[in-house]
């Protein structure tokens, strides 16, 4: 992308926001032109023609209770409401920002006092404080506006103070101070530009409220005083006529509604443009299972499963991709492997190689949107997990195929005691009464050597160390004696000593129970210790696979060779990782042929000419490289 598109373009690109802008634009234009439009005098009464309905000759929107032209009053009233609302928002923003900026900048006692004061103001329901102020000052549009301003100052002061505090300690502030700028210069040139987007968002979100609130005060008779009327005042006058002439109250209400809709739409758009972090949606993982193409499309070109259909797990020709905007990320591009009963299979590769997405695809746990399985199948004793009925998939998940995830702090639910988190998976699959499931959960926590398990089962995840949390994760995975455990980098988040202990525990327990293991790691050393078979992944494909001993001792693929060159001698804690030069490929722009070619010191023309197949190095050892195929 060349440069950042202008904020204006981003705003108008979004159809909804453009609608809001158009709506506001038209309304603003009309009220600006009010003095030159051929309107009747808004205050001239004509009792003979009172309460005429809309489309009455000479009065398009009819007349009110004293025969004044509603259209004219409406346009002048809108003008007044807009001026008052905008003025209130801007003044409140200016004063609030000044308070927030200086409070954060100077800190200390002044900051504390100001913020306590703000807290006190915020302890009031917003509108009541405004009412109290109007009560003291007396009714009137100006006083109502003052009241609305005062009650909105805390909002800006607090927001701007927060925004400033996040900048005020940063390095460039120190630099600014050193360069001899005065406080005011620093505030004006360094701080203000940083908090300005926040202020703009604040104004855009509050101006709608302010128009509604001033309209409200006028409606109550505390704002604009007759004969002058803003939209709220007109509504108030029409309120008692609702039975005889509903249009008098309905029409100004519609205008307020349209005005507020326009402002809210534009405000939301501005917020998305100025503060994209807040934009929700994205990878929301709202679907219960990964979306998949139709089974015909997925199975096209697959060989018959044969022996693989009898195994606990056979991943066959799996393609999983993510669609984000116009980009399609082919995270997994045709991965096949089989897991035999009790076998330990390793998937190894750098981050972005597709190993985690492969692992998550097995039980349909890849986030959808945006993930989708486009080709291939996942056989579990011959049953294709990609399109089994949801209930069957849920019986498999945590039942015969269980997961241990990477970071146990984020993968355990922070609000539920750990014992309950283990017990609920037992109850789900074994249909046991609560007490029985709890006893089993505690026994499991004991078996993963969690100290004082009976009591600690009632504690919450944040009360455990990282290693303990991962033991809990393992207990959860073992809860229903699964046939296959999928462990996705289960120890990456832990320190080296804890890593070794947790891995040994996982391996011991799964051997005791004769569970197969799919172990995902970037660490070849760990794979060497744990696994029987290994599949090396790169750019979404398996580039080399075979028995661990064969692959690691006589690597055939240049990538595996480089990967092994990074591995320190076993038992040497001073791991010196020498990364392979270059970056793993972006899966939305995979090169033709060998994805490793740009980083491969042996690359030649034919490497990038066409798709390269896995070719046998020996009977059970394969590699995807032209030098092997030759």
């Amino acid at each position: 992308m060349s440069g950042r598109p202008s904020a204006w373009r981003l705003l108008t690109q979004n159809g909804v926001v453009a609608f809001g802008l158009a709506l506001l634009g038209v309304m603003v234009l009309i009220v600006l032109l009010a003095p030159v439009l051929p309107l009747l005098d808004p205050n001239v009464t004509d009792v003979a023609h009172r309460l005429k309905p809309p489309l009455y000759p000479g009065h398009w929107l009819g007349t009110d209770q004293v025969g004044r032209d509603i259209l004219s009053r409406l346009i002048w009233g809108t003008r007044l409401s807009l001026v008052v609302g905008l003025t209130a928002a801007l003044v409140a923003a200016a004063i609030g920002s000044a308070i927030g900026l200086s409070s954060a900048f100077y800190g200390g006692l002044a900051d504390t006092l100001l913020m306590r004061g703000i807290d006190m103001l915020m302890a009031f329901p917003y509108l009541l404080l405004a009412l109290a102020i109007v009560a003291a000052l007396g009714p009137g549009l100006f006083n109502a506006m003052m009241a609305i301003i005062v009650v909105n100052i805390p909002f800006f002061a607090r927001g701007v103070r927060g925004g400033t505090l996040s900048v005020v300690n940063a390095d460039f502030m120190a630099a600014a101070r050193l360069s001899g700028l005065s406080d005011w210069q620093i505030i004006a040139t360094e701080l203000f530009p940083n908090v300005l987007p926040g202020i703009v968002i604040g104004v855009s979100t509050t101006v709608g409220w302010m128009i509604l609130e001033t309209a409200g005060l006028s409606f109550l008779g505390l704002g604009a005083q007759p004969p002058q009327a803003d939209l709220g005042g007109m509504l108030g006058e029409g309120r008692n006529l609702i039975q005889v002439a509903p249009h008098v109250a309905t029409i100004p209400g519609i205008v307020i509604l349209l005005l507020a809709v326009g402002i809210n739409l534009v405000g939301d758009g501005l917020r998305d443009v100025l503060d994209p972090k807040l934009k929700s949606g994205g990878l929301a993982r709202t679907h219960a299972r990964t979306a998949a193409a139709s089974s015909e499309a997925r199975r096209a070109g697959l060989q018959p499963a044969g022996d693989a259909a009898r195994q606990p797990l056979a991943v066959r020709g799996l393609h999983t991709q993510f669609t984000v905007g116009r980009n399609v990320y082919k995270a997994v591009g045709g991965v096949s492997f089989t897991v035999k009963p009790g076998e330990a299979v390793g998937l190894v590769g750098e981050s972005g190689s597709g190993k985690t997405v492969t692992a998550l695809s097995i039980a349909g746990l890849v986030a959808t949107p945006p993930g989708k399985i486009t080709r291939g199948e996942i056989l579990h004793h011959g049953e294709d997990l990609v399109d089994v009925p949801m209930q069957r998939l849920q019986a498999v998940r945590g039942g015969t195929i269980a997961y241990v995830f990477q970071d146990p702090l984020t993968t355990l639910n922070p609000l539920i005691p750990v014992g309950e988190q283990v017990a609920e998976t037992i109850r789900r699959h074994q249909n046991l009464p609560r007490a029985e499931a709890w006893r089993k959960a505690v026994a499991l926590l004991e078996s993963v050597r969690l100290p004082d398990a009976a009591n600690r089962a009632r504690s919450y995840p944040h009360e455990f160390s990282g290693g303990q949390r991962q033991r809990i994760g393992i207990a959860m995975a073992l809860a229903n004696n699964p046939e296959v455990i999928v462990a996705d980098e289960p120890t990456t988040a832990l320190d080296v000593t804890t890593q070794a202990q947790v891995l040994a525990l996982l391996n011991d327990l799964r051997r005791e129970r004769n569970a197969a293991l799919v172990f995902i790691s970037h660490d070849v050393g760990v794979i060497a210790e744990l696994c029987d078979t290994v599949h090396v992944m790169y750019g979404g494909k398996v580039v080399e696979s075979g028995p661990v001993a064969a692959v690691l001792q006589t690597p055939a693929h240049p990538y595996t060779q480089r990967l092994l060159a990074c591995v320190p001698v076993l038992g040497n804690p001073e791991r010196k990782i020498e990364p392979i030069p270059g970056l793993p490929p972006a899966t939305n722009a995979l090169p033709e042929g060998c994805a490793f070619a740009p980083r491969c010191h042996l690359a030649e023309a034919r490497c990038s000419a066409a798709e390269i197949e896995l070719a046998p190095v020996s009977a059970d050892h394969f590699a995807r490289c032209v030098r092997v195929a030759a």
Partner: protein, 317 residues
């Protein structure tokens, strides 16, 4: 079971309440000219003015005035309404319950409906129910509640004549609970609409944020049924962020009650405030605002406590 978090939170309420009384007290000093004259109206005799000046301690310095006022407050003496010729506390006492009832019903209604719609919109993200809800929310937050109240009166009270539109005079006399409920349907809906729309939006965002967390994936990996994933694992976490906003919504609802009580002639504090402002009955305004502000502070206290009961990390902090 009082844990230390709740104790600390209870202690924190003292300075907040102190601040609230200071601000309510200071409002009277905003009154231009002589507050005693303002309180009594233009035609007050000099004797009466002197009496009021003495009652309010207006001849003393500001801090002393505050002290006298606070001591009186604590004894239940909110001053006298010179317009209604009765103590402020009596008038407020009669009107507090209807307001709290109306606001409470509206708050519960807006929370329940708002949260449910928010969950549906999040779980069915980008589907047509989500889009319909999103448009409804936009209209909801853009609609002035007093106008909505008028429209409800027009359609359901006048045109269809299904429900009474006002005239709720005596909460405890006559019609009983059913009568009160019938009178409350329309005002409660009008009052709940805006707050509900805000909560739909918030809940949708919070649910989408929570649904992408790793523990939701864990819950699915355990084979839990989707209903349990959404309500036990995702929603409970989303609720931690929603509860404080419900506390803030209480402010919107208590404030909005001023409009709705006026539109529906509901015998509460809100309508009392509006007429007290137009008659310049400043002590009555002061008392009404104070009572509602205290109610708001207490609701927020309850929200914080509820949040801490839900989230063990807050209790520990």
């Amino acid at each position: 079971m009082l844990n230390s978090y709740i104790l600390r939170r209870l202690l924190l309420i003292v300075p907040v309440l102190f601040g609230v009384t200071v601000i309510v007290f200071l409002v009277i000093s905003l009154v231009p000219g002589d507050p005693a004259k303002a309180i009594l109206g233009t035609f007050a005799t000099p004797d009466a003015v002197a009496q009021v000046r003495h009652d309010l301690g207006l001849d003393e310095s500001l801090p002393v005035q505050y002290g006298i006022w606070l001591v009186n407050l604590l004894q239940g003496d909110f001053g006298r309404s010179y317009i209604l010729h009765k103590p402020v506390i009596v008038e407020i006492g009669a009107r507090l319950f209807p307001t709290l009832l109306l606001a409470g019903v509206a708050l519960v209604l807006s929370s329940v409906v708002g949260i449910l719609l928010g969950i549906i919109a999040a779980v069915r993200q980008n589907s047509w129910p989500d889009k319909v809800i999103t448009v409804a929310v936009l209209v909801g937050i853009s609609t002035p509640s007093f106008w909505l109240g008028i429209l409800l009166i027009f359609w359901f009270g006048v045109r269809l004549a299904w429900l009474p539109v006002g005239g709720m005079q005596e909460m405890f006399g006559g019609g009983g609970v059913l009568d009160v409920a019938r009178h409350m349907v329309l005002p409660a809906c009008a009052l709940a609409a805006v707050a509900g729309a805000v909560l739909v939006r918030l809940t949708r965002g919070a649910m989408l944020e929570v649904m992408r967390q790793d523990y939701v994936r864990t819950a699915r990996a355990k084979g839990l049924p989707e209903r349990r994933v959404i309500f036990v694992h995702a929603f409970r976490n989303a609720l931690v962020g929603i509860i404080p906003v419900i506390g803030l919504e209480a402010g919107f609802v208590l404030g909005g009650a001023v409009y709705i009580e006026t539109v529906f002639q509901w015998p509460g504090i809100g309508r009392m405030l509006v007429s007290a402002i137009s008659t310049r009955d400043i002590l009555l305004v002061q008392g009404g605002v104070l009572v509602i502000a205290v109610a708001y502070v207490i609701i927020n206290l309850l929200a914080d406590i509820a949040q801490s009961l839900l989230d063990p990390r807050i209790r520990a902090a």
